[in-house]
Symmetry: D2
Subunit: 241 residues, 4 copies
C-alpha cells in the first residue's frame, strides 16, 4: 500500500509524471490530479484527472530515477552501471562503497541490490542533492557521506569510484576490500584510466579494463539501422583483490 | 562460517581452484589440500597444501560461476547480463522469470539480486545441469522449470528471454508482467531481434533495442590499445509494460 | 598556373573560403579580396585583402569538395568512400560506374583516381547540381548521366551503388563488370543491405559486407577520449565478379 | 596483352592462384597449367590445366597484393589504407611520401593512385622485400628508399607514416608538405597516437584523429549478425598543413 510521502510514477497515454503522494493538486494538460488520493492506493491502481483522464499509479524502479532524479552533472549511464554490477557480481549480501556520488543514480541502483551502500561525495551541495534523491527512492540502506573516500573506513565487497582517481584512492580501496572483493573505476578520459590501471596492477590480483560502445538499433517504416547517438561514455577498470 | 557441501574458491599465487567443502583430498601442482578441513573455516582464512603452500578460502561471487559453472553451450556474457539488470532496474523486491536457462549463469546472477527467480529450460538435460549449478551457488530462491515459458504462470517484475523468440513468447511475457515491469530479450541474430521488436512494439508502452560492443583495453610495456577480441555478442530488446 | 574559372581555397588564420578565380570582389571580415588577381597566380601564393590581411591560395583537394560542394542530401562520408576505394582497389586504370550521384562527392573522389567515371542520377535536379560540382572540381573524365543505372552500358572495373538497391540493379552491375571487377553497395539500412547481399551471393564469386564505426579521438587539456559523435553511417557490401 | 614476367591471378572454381607469366609448369590439384602460354593472352581469357579444368586469367588489383604479397609483418589493413586515401584526398596529381614500407602493401595502393610515391624503410631486408612486391605490381612510379624518412627531401602532397613516430618525424613531414597537403600517421598504440597528435597540433593547421572499428556482417541460413573478428587495428591522425 502506498504511503504518504512516497514518490510515484503516474503513467497515462503518451505521458508520464513523477509525483509525491501528499496533500496537493498536480496540473496536467489532461486535467488536475488530486495527489492526496494516492496514499492508501496500490501500485497498478488507476487515478483520474478532474476531466476523467486515467493514469496508472506505479512505484518507480531504479530506471526511473535515472530519468527523473534531480541532476548535479552528467550521471553515469545505466549501461555502465550494469557493467559494474555484472563485473563485480554485486549481490544482496554485499557491502558497497561508492565514491563520487553525484546525483546518486549509481548509489540508488546499488542500494536496490546490495545489503548496505556507503556513498562519498566531496561537494556538500551534491551530497545534499543525492541525499534527497536517495530518500525519494525510499532506500534506508544507503548512507551518504559528505567527504573524500580516503576518509572512509570499514570492510567492503565492492568499491566503486566515479571521480577523479589518484593512486591513493586505488590503494585505499584495496585496503577496504575483503579478499575476493572488487574495485570498479569509471573514468571518461584515457589519462585517468591509465592512472587507475597503473595503480591497481601491482597490488590487485586481477585487473582488466573495458569499454562498452552502446548503440541503439532503431526500426521504423524506413528501415532498421543503428542509431547515430552516444558512442563513448567511459572506461571501466575492474580490479579484484 | 563455511558449511559442508559449499562450493569454494581456493586462491593461491597465480592459480585458483573451485572445490567443495567435503571429505576428500584435492591435488594441485603445489601439493595436496585436505578438503575436509574447510567446513568451519571463514572466508578469507588460509588453508595450506601438505607442502605448506598457502591458499585463501573464498565464497564464490556470481562472477566466479560464469567462469567455473559447468556449461551447456555459450552462456550470455556478463556485460549483457549487466545490461539486462541495468535496463530493467532489477532489484531485491523483484520476481523474475528467466527463460532459456542454459547452464544457469544468468539465473545465478539474477538470483543473487532478486527476491525470487523462476527459470524455464525446454531441454531436460540442460535444466538438470542448471539445477546443479544453481544448487552449487546456494541459491534457494531460484526455481528451475523444465519446460517452455509459455506454460509459466504468475506475476513478474522482469521477464528475461535468452532463447529462440516467437511472437507468442513476447505476448505471453506481456501477460505475465506487472504494470511498469520489463521484458528483456537477448538475441544474437538480427532476424530474431526483429521478431522481438515487431512483436513488442504494438503492445508494450516503451520498446528499445541496444547493442553493446565491448572491448578490453590492454596495457603493457609495448603500449596501450583496445584488444582485438569479441566485437559482437547479441542485441538486447527492452520493452516496458 | 591558376586559370580563369578555377575554384580555389583561400586560407587565412582561422578562416577558409571557397572562391572562383574570376572578375569580382569577395568580402570577408578581414577586408575585401580582388578575385580578378587570382588567375595567373600559383598554388601556395599569397593574396591580400584591401586591409593587408594575407590569405594563401590553394587548389582544392577532394576533401575540400566534401566540405564545400553544394549538397542535395546527406552525402556519403569520406570514411565510407575510402572503404569503397580500398576494398575495390580502385586505381588509375579503372573505368568506374557510380550510381546515386547525389551532389557528386563520391564521383569527385573517384574521378580524381580512376581513368573514367560514369555517374547516374535519376533525379534531374540532383544530376544538374552534381554536374556543377564536378565542373568546379575540373574533372573532365567524369560524365553525369541523368537516369537509372539499369540503362547504363559498357564495361567497368568497379560499380558503386549508393541508392535504393533492387536485385535488378545488382544483376545489371554484374553484367557490366569485367572479370575480377568489383561491385560496392552502400546502404544505410539493414533491409537494403540484405537485398544487396542476397542478390549478390548467388552470382558473384566473393561477397562480403562491412560496417565501419568511426570515432574521432579528441585530445584537450581535460584529457583524451573518443568523441561521442556519429556511430553509424551505412553498410558496405563488396562483391567480386 | 599480358607480357612475360607479369604477375597474374588464375581464378577457377573455389580456388585462386597467383602466378608469373614465364617459362614453367604450375601444379594444382586440378592438373598442371603451362605458364609459358600466358604471355600474349588477354585478361579475362581462359587457360586450362592438362586435365581440361578451366581458369580465368586476371591482372591483379591492389586488393590482391594485400592477400598475395610476401609479408614482413602485419600489414596495414585495407580499411585503414582507405581511410588514409579518403582523408588526404589522394589523387592522380599527387606526390606521396610513405614511410614504414613494411612489405609495401600501402605503397602499392598509393602507387596505383598517385603520380609518384617515395617509400622509406629503415630495415634493409624489408626494403628489399617491398621492392620485389612493388616490381610484381608493375609500378614504375614507386621508389623504395632504404633509410629513415628524416633523410627524405622533396615536396609532397601527402606524407604517410606507419612506423614508430617521434616528434622529429612529424616536424620533418611538415617541412616536406606543400601548403594544403596532408600528413597521415597510422599508430596501433595510444601512446604513439598521443605523440603524433601532440607533435602535430602546434604546427599544422588542422589536426584530427580517427579510429575505425570495422566489423563484417555475416549472413547465413542461421541468421545475420556482425562477426566477432578484428575490433581494433590502429588510430589514424590526419594533419593538414
Amino acid at each position: 500500500m502506498i504511503e504518504t510521502g512516497e514518490r510515484l510514477l503516474l503513467v497515462g497515454e503518451d505521458r508520464e509524471y513523477f509525483v509525491t503522494a501528499e496533500e496537493g493538486q498536480f496540473s496536467t494538460d489532461r486535467g488536475t490530479i488530486d495527489l492526496s488520493a494516492l496514499p492508501g492506493m496500490n501500485p497498478g491502481d488507476e487515478v483520474r484527472t478532474h476531466l476523467g483522464v486515467p493514469f496508472i499509479v506505479l512505484r518507480p524502479r531504479p530506471t526511473d530515477f535515472f530519468v527523473h532524479a534531480k541532476r548535479s552533472g552528467v550521471p553515469m549511464l545505466p549501461k555502465d552501471i550494469g557493467l559494474v554490477i555484472a563485473y563485480t557480481g554485486m549481490n544482496r549480501d554485499d557491502t558497497v562503497l561508492d565514491a563520487g556520488t553525484g546525483s546518486g543514480v549509481a548509489a540508488i541502483y546499488f542500494g536496490n541490490i546490495a545489503r548496505h551502500v556507503k556513498t562519498c561525495e566531496v561537494r556538500p551541495e551534491f551530497a545534499a542533492l543525492a541525499e534527497k534523491n536517495i530518500r525519494n527512492a525510499r532506500l534506508d540502506n544507503v548512507e551518504v557521506m559528505a567527504g573524500d573516500m580516503l576518509q572512509a573506513t570499514g570492510e567492503f565487497d565492492v568499491v566503486h569510484l566515479d571521480m577523479t582517481i589518484t593512486p591513493a584512492h586505488v590503494e585505499h580501496a584495496f585496503s577496504l576490500l575483503r579478499p575476493g572483493g572488487y574495485l570498479a573505476c569509471y573514468t571518461p578520459f584515457l589519462e585517468h584510466t591509465f592512472t587507475a590501471l597503473d595503480a591497481a596492477a601491482p597490488i590487485f590480483r586481477e585487473v582488466h579494463c573495458y569499454e562498452c560502445i552502446e548503440r541503439e538499433l532503431t526500426r521504423s517504416a524506413r528501415g532498421t539501422r543503428p542509431s547515430t547517438r552516444v558512442a563513448h561514455s567511459g572506461y571501466i577498470t575492474i580490479a579484484r583483490r
